[in-house]
Amino acid sequence: MDTRDETTTARTLVLDVPDWPGHLAGQHVDVRLTAPDGYSTQRSYSIASAPDGTKVELTVQRIPDGEVSSYLTGVFSIGGPVELRGPIGGWFVWRRTDAAPVLLVAGGSGIVPLMAMVRTRMAAGSRVPFRLVYSIRTPADGFYADELRSAGVDLTYVHTRAGPGPVGRLTAATLDSHGWPASLEPACYVCGPTGFVETVSDILVALGHDPGRVRTERFG
């Protein structure tokens, strides 16, 4: 249907999926590609958009030597068919009816399912307090930058390689200052590369968050 470049290596695909049953923020789809010789392969991609009829947006990060990502961010053209299955996932989801404050912690492309939550909240006119801590290498690596500025969430960037402010990895001090206190019993969602998720979820537990309220989704 449409594509939109988020960064030099990530692209959002706006797909029209007939008979799409709707989805919850945080869910993903399985995309299957089939070569002419019958070989097929599948990957999971988080849905980036809030539910909106038959429209489903996926933001795909191109991975070096990525079999599926290089196709989806390259050859795949507007209007081309793609097979997908979903929505999938019942754990790493945020529902508009969830009243607790929400802490979202994203590493790189881990922002995608969390953006679906931000967009769902916005579309619902929800006043549930959201805080987002988004760790990226440099400002140029951030997805949805303009939209996040006016999305109604408290936003903190962490730049790990270069940036206008302090540069370095996400630390316990940052999560302590820019996350929610554990006493508020927020729902925490952490998404990104596995090392990032491991570190962040350990920090959240060490800060007193109930492990059962820290939901994780690891990429790769």
Binding site: T34, Q42, E83, G89, S201, P211, V214
Partner: protein
């Protein structure tokens, strides 16, 4: 066969590699989990088999390590599509752990530290199909990968190989575990591509 995707050719295939449908080969070892990694001190660690009548058989960490262990090389298949071939594990066969257990139950609910659960038919844990593994690739199993010990049931999707395992509860009725209760398949045979409920 699915619809052919225009312009897609895929990466070069290695001949002779047989993977379950929908899987791709990985050479690294991805980590997936629902939440933070539980950290269990070995002096507090315990493994229990609980029968349907409430009888408990327990092993401390030293007791587990004292049991006869096996080193096995198996292929593992994750429901998120990656497969890793020829992985080597050391652990105690579940047959050994159930050897002196009297039960009439047909089902098992596996429990992990941190609250994770997964269910399987008891027969899928017997006859050399399952282990409580504490070494991967010759080294102590990392907490990220389920250490100190995890269940290993390679013939099913790897979510059934419960990390941070703490016990097997034998149940007369089938009780769905964590992922099985949120849309994943109750049994999970990779060769029949049983990923989600309804497959």
């Amino acid at each position: 066969m699915g619809i052919v995707t225009p312009g897609f050719t895929g990466r070069a295939r290695e001949p002779g590699t047989k993977l379950p449908p929908g899987q791709y080969l990985t050479r690294d070892f991805p980590v997936l989990s629902a939440g933070p990694t539980p950290r269990i001190p070995l002096d507090k660690w315990e493994f229990a088999v609980i029968t349907e009548t409430g009888q408990r058989h327990t092993w401390s960490w030293p007791a587990l390590l004292a049991l006869p262990a096996e080193t096995v090389t198996v292929d593992i298949h994750c429901v998120t599509k990656w497969s890793k071939l020829g992985t080597t594990w050391t652990g105690v066969s579940v047959d050994t752990l159930l050897a002196d257990v009297e039960t009439g139950a047909d089902h098992a609910l596996v429990h992990s530290y941190g609250g994770y659960t997964t269910n399987l038919p008891l027969e899928d844990l017997l006859d050399g199909k399952a282990w409580v593994a504490y070494k991967y690739d010759g080294e102590d199993l990392h907490p990220e990968h389920g250490g100190p010990a995890r269940l290993l049931v390679p013939h099913l999707y790897f979510w059934k190989s419960a990390k941070w395992v703490r016990g097997i509860q034998l149940t007369p009725e089938d009780e769905p575990g964590f992922w099985e209760s949120v849309g994943y398949h109750n049994y999970g045979d990779p060769w029949r591509e049983q990923r989600y409920q309804g497959d």
